[in-house]
């Protein structure tokens, strides 16, 4: 394992976001606060508790997950797309570093940022609602695993993308809708029977459900299934990344 190389890329990526620290923290904090004002206070006060949890508190895991999905994808895809765009990727391609090490560095940096952001949102949320986390260790574990999985997904998008528009396309057109429909703001059990079955085809349901389980002790599906879903998603992304480096897809001519 070439630790110096991994550390060099990791630090480079972290430094890049420290330069824009305020932007990357203020934006999500402001938007999360708005969600709490609107959904938590204004609408939530007229909503009955969901599965015994106050509506304002109920939406916290979903909100964190939504931010986690989009920032992980954005950070990782941008991290690898930008050097491709400017041409500085030549240096990484010519370095004595394996594909696994490159992925570890880029994805590790993106995931680190997402985890930090997730914790910041959690802190913000605690000002608005009473939070009582049932499985704090599992909560952190889900935070890390899902950040890593979506960062890996973002890394793939960054390599695949041929323009800046494409970087936004997948998160906006696929991930956000799936997250909205995946029970970020409601429990799937609130849906009519038919739509409950349809919802189970949405992989995001399993992720949000697992995360919510770590907060409140129950989810839409058993937590083992959520864990399996995270593992499968991560495995598929890893296989695709391995294939990318094997073939040099959109990295080497």
């Amino acid at each position: 394992m070439n630790l110096h190389s991994i550390w060099a890329i990791y630090r480079f990526e972290m430094a890049r976001s420290v330069r824009t620290l305020w932007q990357s923290l203020i934006t999500p904090v402001v938007s999360t606060s708005l969600y709490f004002v609107v959904f938590g206070a204004a609408i939530g006060s007229r909503m009955p508790p969901v599965e015994g949890v106050d509506y304002g508190a109920f939406i916290v895991p979903g909100l964190i997950m939504m931010t986690l999905f989009t920032t992980s994808i954005f950070n990782a895809s941008f991290g690898i797309y930008f050097p491709k765009f400017t041409g500085t990727i030549y240096e990484v391609l010519s370095a004595p570093i394996s594909f696994l090490e490159i992925v570890l560095a880029y994805v590790g940096a993106a995931a680190t940022k997402s985890v930090v952001l997730g914790l910041v949102i959690l802190l913000t949320a605690s000002f608005f609602v009473d939070l009582d986390i049932v499985h704090p260790l599992w909560m952190v574990a889900f935070l890390v695993m899902i950040s890593a999985a979506f960062s890996l997904f973002g890394f793939i998008i960054g390599i695949w993308a041929k323009g800046f528009e494409q970087l936004n396309m997948i998160p906006m057109l696929i991930v956000m809708p799936l997250a909205f429909l995946g029970g970020a703001f409601y429990s799937v059990t609130m849906l009519p029977a038919f739509w409950q079955k349809v919802a189970l085809f949405n992989p995001v349901v399993y992720l949000i459900s697992g995360f919510r389980w770590s907060f409140y002790g129950n989810g839409d599906v058993p937590v083992e299934i959520s864990l399996a879903a995270v593992a499968i998603f991560f495995g598929v992304c890893l296989a695709v990344t391995w294939w990318i480096f094997k073939t040099g897809y959109r990295l080497k001519s």
Binding site: S5, F12, R19, T86, E91, V92, P96, I97, S253
Partner: protein, 337 residues
């Protein structure tokens, strides 16, 4: 083209290397090349000849279609870690991280190539390249020439045994070019092998120990620079006449002389390696014809002329292959630039 009398193992050995890009364009057509440890090797060739493709394959940026490359005895694909650690690359294009500082980007490169941090070495590299007072500047604030220096600093940050310079002086001012060659000489003295491509033939002529010429994806020649100039060099004999001539007398036709400067200058081009240069007989014939000259001078053709001739000959050969009428002789007048 194979090298004979290779002292020791080559530090880079390229065998049967071909590259066909996605669109079907074949940029390299079976390249064999040995680079000797510690030499300065200049790769000359017109635009699109495949110089950058060859360098990028050796460095791992472009995937070869066929063939093998070993660097320091290591296969550049199977043992890429060992192979790549030996190499520093200054690519043709200025690819820099605009928002990084000079120091940070150089330090990054060292880490990326697996070396432990060494601020003293980074300082030395930046000082050698007159970048030390710019160490905190963001790269986007620098001029093109300064950015080129930064690229070199990055390549040298991990103390490579082999340095690739892909057209290092393209679009670079005189001062930087001079600094760069001073640096290249110093690096060579410290044992670094240097491979450079250039359009400026006089640079290859001044700097290189050996010269390779590549054209249309094929290495058409590899020679010691001195041998090359001697072997392929045409010499010119220039005679300043006392009395101007209106035309070359028919008695001198066999020498294919050229008349210039309003009939005051006779130029005879000959192959200095040929058994019979034709010079003594020409002198005798001139004496017979009572043509007197005030001054006589010989001139050796420069590498540039040799180079143009070579590439020109190759093109002529290929055109002849393509046209149905392949009977055009490779006339002697064609071999002059």
């Amino acid at each position: 083209m194979k090298d004979t009398n290779m002292p020791g193992d080559p530090i880079i050995a390229v065998r049967g290397l071909t590259k066909t890009y996605e669109g079907g364009f074949q940029a390299l057509k079976g390249v064999d090349l040995d680079i000797r440890k510690g030499e300065i090797f200049a790769l000359l060739g017109p635009n699109g000849a495949g110089k950058t493709t060859l360098i990028n394959i050796i460095c791992g940026i472009v995937t070869p279609s066929e063939g093998t490359v070993t660097v320091g005895g290591y296969d550049h694909q199977k043992q890429y870690r060992e192979a790549r650690k030996l190499i520093g690359l200054v690519p043709q294009e200025l690819h820099t991280d605009a928002f990084e500082s000079v120091w940070a980007t150089t330090n990054f490169s060292r880490g990326l190539f697996g070396k432990a941090p060494d601020p003293a070495h980074i300082e030395k590299v930046l000082k050698d390249l007159s970048l030390w007072d710019k160490q905190k500047a963001r790269i986007m604030m620098l001029s093109g020439g300064m950015k080129r220096r930064v690229m070199i600093a990055k390549a040298l940050s991990h103390e490579p045994a082999i340095l690739f310079l892909d057209e290092p002086t393209a679009g670079v001012d005189v001062e930087l070019r001079r600094d760069m060659w001073a640096m290249v000489r110093k690096l060579r003295e410290s044992g670094v092998t240097i491979i450079l491509t250039t359009h400026y033939i006089e640079e290859a002529e001044q700097m290189a120990d050996r010269i390779g010429v590549i054209s249309k994806g094929e290495i058409i020649l590899v020679e010691e620079k001195a041998d090359l100039i001697e072997k392929l060099g045409k010499k010119e004999l220039r005679l300043s006449l006392q009395e101007p001539l209106s035309a070359v007398p028919p008695e001198l036709a066999e020498w294919k002389l050229e008349l210039g400067q309003d009939g005051h200058l006779l130029t005879y081009t000959f192959d200095s390696q040929a058994e019979r240069t034709g010079v003594p007989s020409l002198m005798r014939r001139l004496a017979d014809l009572n043509i007197g000259f005030a001054d006589i001078e010989t001139r050796q053709s420069s590498l540039e002329e040799i180079f143009v001739n070579l590439v020109h000959d190759q093109n002529a050969g290929q055109n002849a292959d393509q046209t149905a009428d392949a009977s055009l002789p490779d006339g002697e007048k064609d071999s002059r630039p």
